[in-house]
C-alpha cells in the first residue's frame, strides 16, 4: 500500500465520526433512530475503506462488499424487524452517563495500546505507521462498544445492533492487519455477518411472538 497517497485528514475525520456514531447507535433509546445511527456508521465505514483504497486499489472491492452487506442489507433487516410499532428500547442495565464514560475510556485505552504495543497486535511494517495505529485504535473501540452493547442491553434487537458494531470493528481492523487478504476470504467473512443478523432477527421475531417481548431477561427458561 502506498501510504503517501492516502487522504490523511479525511481518514481521521471519518474515524472520529465512526466512534461518535457507534456511541449513538448504542445509546439512542429509540430503536429506529439507533438503526439510523448504525446505518450512518456503516456508510462511514464504506467511505473509510474507499479512502484507504486510494493507496491500495484492492480495498475498493472491500468498500463495495461493505456497502452491500453493512449499509444496505443489514439496515434493511433491522428496520424490517423493528417494524412500525412502538420502538422504545427496554431500559438497559447501564444508563447513558456511565456508558459515555466507558466509551471515552475505551477509546483512550486503545489509543494508548496501539501507540505503545503495536508490535504485538499488528506484526507488519504497514500497521506500525501512525495512520494504521489510529485505525486499529478506532476499530478496537468500535469492537469493544459493540461487545458492551451486547452485554448490557436488555432489548434483543439492540444486542443485534451491538453485534453489528462488533463485526464492523473487526472488519475495519483488517485494513491494517491484513490488507492483502484475498477477496474470497473477505467476501466469506462479510457475508456471514449479514446471514447471522438475518437469522438472529428471524429468531427474535419468533421470541417476540412466543414471549410477547424482546426482553432478553425474559429468556429464563433454561438455566444450569
Amino acid at each position: 500500500m502506498s501510504v503517501e497517497l492516502l487522504p490523511m485528514d479525511l481518514i481521521r475525520t471519518l474515524s472520529m465520526l465512526l466512534v461518535i456514531t457507534s456511541v449513538a447507535a448504542v445509546e439512542i433509546r429509540r430503536l429506529r433512530m439507533a438503526a439510523v445511527a448504525y446505518s450512518i456508521q456503516a456508510l462511514l465505514i464504506v467511505a473509510l475503506l474507499a479512502s484507504f483504497a486510494s493507496g491500495n486499489p484492492a480495498l475498493y472491492l472491500w468498500a463495495g462488499t461493505a456497502l452491500i452487506t453493512k449499509a444496505i442489507l443489514t439496515p434493511y433487516f433491522l428496520f424490517r424487524a423493528i417494524g412500525s410499532g412502538d420502538d422504545r428500547e427496554l431500559k438497559p442495565l447501564i444508563g447513558f452517563g456511565p456508558s459515555v464514560l466507558v466509551a471515552v475510556l475505551l477509546m483512550l485505552g486503545f489509543y494508548h495500546l496501539t501507540h505503545t504495543h503495536i508490535l504485538l497486535l499488528a506484526p507488519s511494517e504497514l500497521a506500525q505507521q501512525e495512520l494504521f495505529r489510529t485505525n486499529l485504535a478506532v476499530a478496537s473501540t468500535v469492537f469493544a462498544l459493540g461487545l458492551y452493547a451486547v452485554l448490557t442491553r436488555r432489548d434483543a434487537v439492540k444486542t443485534v445492533i451491538g453485534l453489528c458494531l462488533l463485526e464492523n470493528g473487526v472488519h475495519l481492523s483488517l485494513v491494517s492487519l491484513a490488507p492483502g487478504l484475498p477477496e474470497t476470504a473477505l467476501f466469506g467473512v462479510a457475508s456471514e455477518v449479514v446471514v447471522t443478523v438475518y437469522l438472529l432477527l428471524y429468531v427474535i421475531g419468533g421470541v417476540r411472538r412466543q414471549f410477547g417481548t424482546t426482553d432478553t431477561f425474559a429468556l429464563r427458561e433454561l438455566h444450569w
Partner: protein, 508 residues
C-alpha cells in the same frame, strides 16, 4: 503447490463438501415435493459422503496426502478421520431422523407438531450443516477455516431453534449470539496468524494463508504476537468446542435441538471445533512447548466442571450435554499435550466420544419418542418395555464411563498414560477421578430410568413400546462400534496413527 512428496491431487476433498452443499440446495428448492424426497436425498448424500470419507482413509493410510485447488484444500490423516466421523454419524443421524421428526409430538412439546412443509427445510439445513463441517475439515486456508466454523453456526442455528417454542427459541438466540461473538475472536486469531506469517517474509501473500505452509514459519513469529493469536484462537474455537468456561451455550443448544441435531452437535460439531483449535494452535507448539501445560490445565478444568454440572441434572438431554463438555476436556487434555501418545489418545477419544455420545443421545431420543418424557424423575422401569433402547443406553454409559472392555476405557487409558508420560500426574489423577464421577452420573440415570419403579405420571400414560427399527438399527450399530473399538482397538490404529502423526509436534 506443496513440496510435500506425498501430496497427490485428488477430487475427493472438494467433492466431500460440494456434494452435500448441492444436495441441500436441491432439497430446499424442491420443498414442494415433500418429506420423502428430502429424506431420500439426505440419506443417499450422507452415504456418499461416508463413502468419500472411507476412500480418503484408504488413500491416507497408504501414505498419501490429498490436495486440491492448488493446496487450498488438503486432506491428511487428521482431516480424513474427521471426514469419516462426520460421514458415519451423518448417515446414522439421518436414518434415525426419518421416524423421529415425523413424530416429535411428545406431550412435553405439545403444540409444536412439526408441519410437513417444514421438514424439507430441516433436511436442507442438515445437509448444509454437514457440508460446512466437512468444508472446515478439508480446507487448508486459515481464514476459510474460520469462515467454515462460523458457517456451521449459521446452518445449524435454525435447526437448534427448530421446534420454535419458548425453550427452543431461547436456545437458538443464545446459540447464534454467543457463538458468533466467540468465533469472532477466532477470526482475530486467524488473521493475526496470517499477518504474522506474511510478515516473516518467508511466504508470499497467498501462501501465508495456508496452514501447511504456516507451520514451517511459526517459529519466526514474534512471541508476543504468537501468544495473543493463541489466546484469541483458544477463546474463539474453544467457545465452539464447548471448552469451559466458554461452554454456557452448549447445554441449551444440545438439549433443545431435535435429537438427530443433538447427535450431530454433540457427536460431531464440537469435534470439528477442536479440530480447528488443534490445527491452528499446534503450529506454535514446537516453539512454545509451555502451551501444553496450559492446554492440559484447561482440559482438566473443563472435564471437572462439565461432570459436576452434569451431576445436578434431571433432564437427560442436559445431562448428556454437560457430559459432552466434560468429555471434550479429555480430548483437549490429550491433544493439548502435543506428544504423539497424547494426540493419539485425544483423537481416539474424539472418535469414541462421537460414537458413544451419539448413541446416548439417540437412546434418550428413543425414550422421548416412546414416553414423551425426558426427565429422570418422570421415567422409570423401562428396561422390560424398551429392551433394545435400554441395552444400548447401558452400553453407551459403560463406554463413556471408561469401564473395560468398551471403547472409552481404551482411549481414556491412552490419555492417562500420555499425561503420566509427560509427567503430569496431577492431571492424570483428576482425569481418573472424573471417570469415576462419570460412572456415577450415567449409572444413576440408567438405574432410575430403566430399573426403578415407574413414576405415577409415567404409569398413567399410554403403553410404552420399543421404537421402530429405523431408530434402533443406528443405535445397535453404534453400540457394536463401542464394543469393537474397545475389544479390538487396533482396528482404528492405521488411521489414528496417521492423524496423530499429522498433529503431534512434540515428538513421538
Amino acid at each position: 503447490m506443496s513440496a510435500d512428496p506425498a501430496a497427490v491431487t485428488s477430487s475427493l476433498p472438494p467433492l466431500a463438501f460440494l456434494l452435500p452443499l448441492a444436495a441441500g440446495a436441491v432439497v430446499l428448492l424442491g420443498r414442494r415435493f415433500g418429506r420423502a424426497l428430502a429424506q431420500a436425498v439426505t440419506l443417499v448424500t450422507a452415504v456418499a459422503v461416508l463413502g468419500i470419507g472411507v476412500a480418503m482413509v484408504v488413500r491416507v493410510v497408504a501414505g498419501q496426502v490429498l490436495v486440491a485447488w492448488g493446496n487450498e484444500l488438503r486432506v491428511d490423516g487428521l482431516s480424513a478421520l474427521l471426514v469419516v466421523v462426520i460421514g458415519g454419524i451423518g448417515v446414522l443421524a439421518s436414518l434415525y431422523s426419518v421416524r423421529y421428526v415425523a413424530r416429535p409430538t411428545a406431550p412435553e412439546r405439545a403444540g409444536e407438531a412439526v408441519a410437513p412443509t417444514r421438514l424439507p427445510v430441516f433436511y436442507g439445513l442438515l445437509l448444509w450443516f454437514l457440508a460446512t463441517m466437512l468444508w472446515g475439515c478439508v480446507t487448508n486456508n486459515v481464514v476459510m477455516l474460520y469462515v467454515a466454523v462460523e458457517a456451521t453456526t449459521l446452518t445449524s442455528g435454525l435447526l437448534v431453534a427448530f421446534y420454535w417454542d419458548r425453550r427452543a427459541l431461547e436456545a437458538g438466540y443464545k446459540y447464534l449470539m454467543l457463538l458468533t461473538i466467540g468465533i469472532t475472536f477466532a477470526l482475530f486469531g486467524c488473521v493475526l496468524v496470517y499477518a504474522a506469517g506474511a510478515a516473516t517474509g518467508k511466504l508470499d501473500g497467498g501462501q501465508a494463508l495456508l496452514l501447511s505452509e504456516l507451520r514451517g514459519v511459526a517459529g519466526l513469529i514474534p512471541s508476543g504476537t504468537a501468544l495473543i493469536a493463541v489466546a484469541f484462537l483458544i477463546v474463539g474455537f474453544g467457545t465452539k468446542a464447548g471448552i469451559a468456561p466458554f461452554h454456557p451455550w452448549l447445554p441449551d443448544a444440545h438439549a433443545e435441538a431435535p435429537t438427530p441435531i443433538s447427535v450431530l452437535l454433540s457427536g460431531v460439531m464440537i469435534k470439528m471445533a477442536v479440530y480447528a483449535l488443534a490445527r491452528t494452535v499446534s503450529i506454535f507448539y514446537p516453539t512454545w512447548p509451555g502451551l501444553a501445560v496450559f492446554a492440559v490445565g484447561l482440559g482438566v478444568f473443563t472435564m471437572v466442571l462439565g461432570i459436576v454440572l452434569a451431576l445436578a441434572q434431571d433432564d437427560l438431554k442436559r445431562l448428556l450435554a454437560y457430559s459432552s463438555v466434560s468429555q471434550m476436556g479429555y480430548v483437549l487434555a490429550g491433544v493439548g499435550l502435543g506428544t504423539y501418545l497424547g494426540c493419539y489418545g485425544g483423537l481416539f477419544h474424539l472418535l469414541n466420544h462421537a460414537v458413544f455420545k451419539s448413541l446416548l443421545f439417540m437412546a434418550v431420543g428413543a425414550l422421548i419418542y416412546s414416553t414423551g418424557a425426558r426427565r429422570i424423575s418422570e421415567l422409570g422401569g423401562l428396561a422390560r418395555k424398551m429392551p433394545i433402547t435400554s441395552a444400548c443406553f447401558i452400553i453407551g454409559a459403560v463406554a463413556i464411563s471408561g469401564l473395560p472392555p468398551l471403547s472409552g476405557f481404551m482411549s481414556k487409558l491412552t490419555v492417562f498414560l500420555a499425561l503420566a508420560q509427560s509427567g503430569m500426574w496431577w492431571a492424570a489423577a483428576v482425569a481418573v477421578l472424573v471417570g469415576l464421577l462419570t460412572t456415577v452420573v450415567l449409572m444413576r440415570a440408567a438405574s432410575a430410568v430403566f430399573w426403578a419403579g415407574p413414576s405415577r405420571q409415567a404409569a398413567a400414560q399410554n403403553p410404552v413400546r420399543e421404537v421402530p427399527p429405523s431408530m434402533w438399527v443406528p443405535m445397535v450399530i453404534l453400540a457394536a462400534a463401542c464394543v469393537l473399538l474397545g475389544v479390538l482397538p487396533q482396528v482404528a490404529y492405521p488411521l489414528l496413527d496417521r492423524a496423530a502423526v499429522a498433529l503431534a509436534t512434540l515428538g513421538r
